[in-house]
């Protein structure tokens, strides 16, 4: 059997890949892609399509709407569109609207304060608190998890020991001690303190995900090419973590609400304006527990808390779907291949 060698064939040019020069099978397929096209592509892939899928899912839709509702309420408060709460501004123990008056749609408290005003005016504070807590917890977790998982070695050991230490301490008692020590009033500060040890668990699971991503070929390739570590982390590692991170950020928000309201309820955190937890506390300590007529005083703040949490949970569950490739292609109306990643479930770490 005769093997045709390229040296024997005088018409062939030598090429490094062993092929003959007459057949430029690569040339036909490359086209120039303009920068504008690239941006358009990025927009489509990263923003438009996920948003489309997200909006299609009723859970994300409702979740976002609920959150939007709260932001609107916060705006109402910030723009002073509703009266400020004050004691004795109306008759005591007024029932909520169908039974009471429209001017005080949620009724009034034991000391004659407008319940609606109480809830509305504390909304901005709570929202800032929750956002700060969620961003802080997730941010630190991403940083620790990524650096620790990617770098390995001593950096890893040190970061994980610190992380373990924070995980070993039961969250709320530590927060309470810090709260008593520092008496924080700034909502951002409160948010940060509350999540002081929440990030540790998230950081750990992010780290194990990074450990897997790190083994991928493109990461190794980037390393070999001499790409700097921060760049690798940003462009190769982080995008793969985003699904997990977004879903968990939402649950960090939920935890922050629960913990903060709980602590206000306990009376541990100081407050300038009564917020939902404080209102709940006052309701708990008033006659509302014993008297069905006054139950609204308890129920309405509870509903405010629960609705916000529900909004976050809906959003979280919906976002989970966004990052699931099989759902995505059905929604965006294409048939991409249904190759499945072998990553673990993008489940949330639910606490409390």
């Amino acid at each position: 059997m005769k093997v045709k060698r390229t040296e024997d064939d005088p018409s062939a040019e030598t090429r490094t890949d062993g092929g003959s020069g007459q057949f430029d099978w690569r040339g036909e397929t490359t086209t120039q892609i303009s920068r504008w096209d690239r941006y358009k592509e990025i927009y489509e892939e990263r923003i438009y399509k996920p948003a489309l899928v997200a909006w299609d899912d009723s859970r994300t839709r409702w979740g976002s709407l609920i959150l939007l509702f709260y932001v609107l309420i916060a705006l109402v408060a910030l723009l002073d569109l509703w009266r400020f709460p004050a004691t004795s501004q109306a008759a005591r123990w007024m029932q909520p609207w169908p039974w009471g008056s429209l001017a005080y749609p949620l009724g009034t408290t034991k000391s004659g304060t407008d319940l609606a005003a109480l809830l509305i005016h504390s909304t901005p504070y709570i929202l800032i608190l929750v956002t700060a807590g969620a961003i802080w917890a997730t941010g630190i977790a991403v940083f620790v998890g990524t650096v620790s998982g990617y770098k390995g070695g001593t950096v890893d050991s040190v970061l994980m020991s610190v992380s373990d230490f924070f995980m070993a301490i039961p969250g709320l008692p530590l927060v309470i001690v810090l709260a008593v020590a520092f008496s924080p009033e700034n909502p951002v500060f409160v948010g940060v303190i509350i999540t002081i040890n929440y990030w540790a668990g998230l950081g750990r699971s992010l780290r194990s995900q990074v450990l897997t991503i790190r083994e991928n070929n493109y990461v190794e390739a980037a390393r070999t090419m001499g790409t700097s570590t921060p760049r690798i982390i940003f462009k190769d590692v982080l995008p793969n973590l985003m699904p997990y991170v977004t879903v968990n950020a939402v649950f960090a928000a939920r935890y922050t609400i629960f913990a903060s309201v709980g602590l206000y309820f306990l009376g541990v955190l100081p407050y300038k304006i009564q917020n939902w937890g404080v209102t709940l506390n006052l309701a708990y300590n008033s006659a509302a527990l014993f008297n069905v007529d006054y139950a609204y005083y308890l129920i309405i703040p509870m509903l405010a808390i629960m609705l916000l949490s529900f909004g976050f949970i809906l959003l979280g569950q919906g976002l989970d779907r966004v990052f699931n490739p099989r759902v995505r292609t059905r929604m965006a109306g294409e048939t991409e291949s249904t190759v499945e990643d072998d990553d673990e479930d993008t489940g949330f770490t639910e606490v409390m």
Binding site: M1, K4, T6, D9, A12, G19, Q22, F23
Partner: protein
């Protein structure tokens, strides 16, 4: 869509001693609007190795699952599949009830999937997989386990080592061999293999094929080997079947199908097989794409891509034509195909059809 139900067709498909007869097997996921297996008919001869070759998405995996009545939900399988055991009455596989089906599977007909790693329970040791399979079929456990050890040794695995580990502790090749042993532990008559070597490196592929050959001889198995890689199975197979667009295009003895194929698709497929030594300009991909189930062309499903297609091809779906002896092809113009489409097989100097019809791989 044609039905090969007439007696004329039947005689073309029928073999001497079929162990499994498949007639008009069809699988649909949307109540008959489209088919992912389109009235396929074939016989599997006892103790033979049947190689089923087709591209990804041609319906070959559906065919494999159909023989065990294991089409994933919500697919609906219709047609007739008859199993002929050594002794006893023929079994209508699709009419079996749940319990009978449970006994049928793995005791008579067994299957090996692609991707052995994902076929094992990651939290169970290999040994336990064997034990529980034996117990589930009320087979004597100790005897079964020593047979399992024998099988593993036939596959060049050390039973002591393999039994005591978890699946992830074995290499890919070892997993595949362990899976083959697991599928044979109840001494089935027929072993169906769906791309068993796709995830393995070339050397491992070759050695597993050799092992399969030895096993087939030793235990007198009937094997149905499903793959996209024609040259891979060509050595091992006694007969070959080519599947295209959810139907069988050509069936016949190996030498015939490879050396003297009648169907233009088969010939194009043979030509498309890459050969490391050939220069780039001799690469001959088949132009066009395989149809999706929902838009299978009318008439002959290959006609849009076929250089020989005529009006007849666009209107009439060909049934099997006799090419030679047991060799049949579903093409109106198979004679023309043999004359006009040259075969450029590995090892040829100048591209003419190899005269002995065999695949020459030194």
């Amino acid at each position: 869509m044609s039905t090969n139900g007439s007696t004329e067709q039947e005689s073309k498909i029928r073999t001497d001693d079929p162990i499994i007869e498949v007639r008009d097997a069809s699988v649909t996921y949307d109540d008959g609007t489209s088919y992912v297996l389109d009235h396929a008919s074939i016989d599997v001869e006892r103790s033979e190795v049947l190689g089923v070759v087709g591209e990804s998405g041609s319906g070959k995996s559906m065919f494999a699952s159909a023989m065990m009545d294991a089409i994933p939900d919500p697919g609906v399988l219709s047609g007739k599949i008859v199993y002929h055991p050594d002794e006893g009455e023929p079994v209508d596989v699709l009419a079996l009830d749940d319990e009978e089906l449970r006994e049928f599977r793995w005791e008579e007909v067994s299957m090996v999937f692609q991707g052995a790693m994902s076929s094992f329970n990651p939290t169970m040791k290999i040994e336990e997989h064997f034990r529980e399979t034996l117990k589930a079929h009320d087979a004597p456990v100790e005897e079964g386990m020593s047979f399992a050890r024998e099988l593993l040794e036939d596959l060049y695995l050390d039973p002591k080592r393999v039994f005591d580990v978890y699946p992830h502790e074995l290499s890919g090749g070892m997993q595949q061999r362990a899976l083959i042993a697991l599928s044979l532990v109840l001494e089935p008559e027929v072993l169906i293999m769906d791309e068993p070597t796709a995830a393995l490196d070339l050397l491992m592929q070759r050695s597993i094929l050799m092992l399969l050959h030895e096993l087939q001889q030793k235990y007198n198995l009937t094997m149905v080997f499903i793959t996209h890689d024609l040259p891979l199975v060509a050595d091992l197979a006694d007969r070959m079947a080519v599947i295209y667009a959810f139907q069988f295009a050509e069936v016949g003895p190996r030498d015939e199908v490879v050396g003297n194929s009648g169907h233009p698709y088969t010939r194009a497929l043979l030509n498309a097989t890459p050969n490391i030594e050939a220069p780039l300009e001799e690469m001959r991909p088949i132009p066009g794409d395989q149809p999706a189930p929902i838009n299978v062309p009318s008439g002959c499903s290959y006609h849009p891509r076929c250089p020989l297609s005529t009006e007849e091809c666009e209107e009439v779906d060909p049934s099997f034509y006799d090419v030679e002896g047991d060799h049949v092809a579903a093409c109106h113009h198979w004679e023309e195909a043999q004359e006009e489409i040259d075969l450029h097989l590995a090892g040829d100097d100048d591209g003419a059809v190899a005269s002995d019809g065999g695949v020459d791989d030194e």
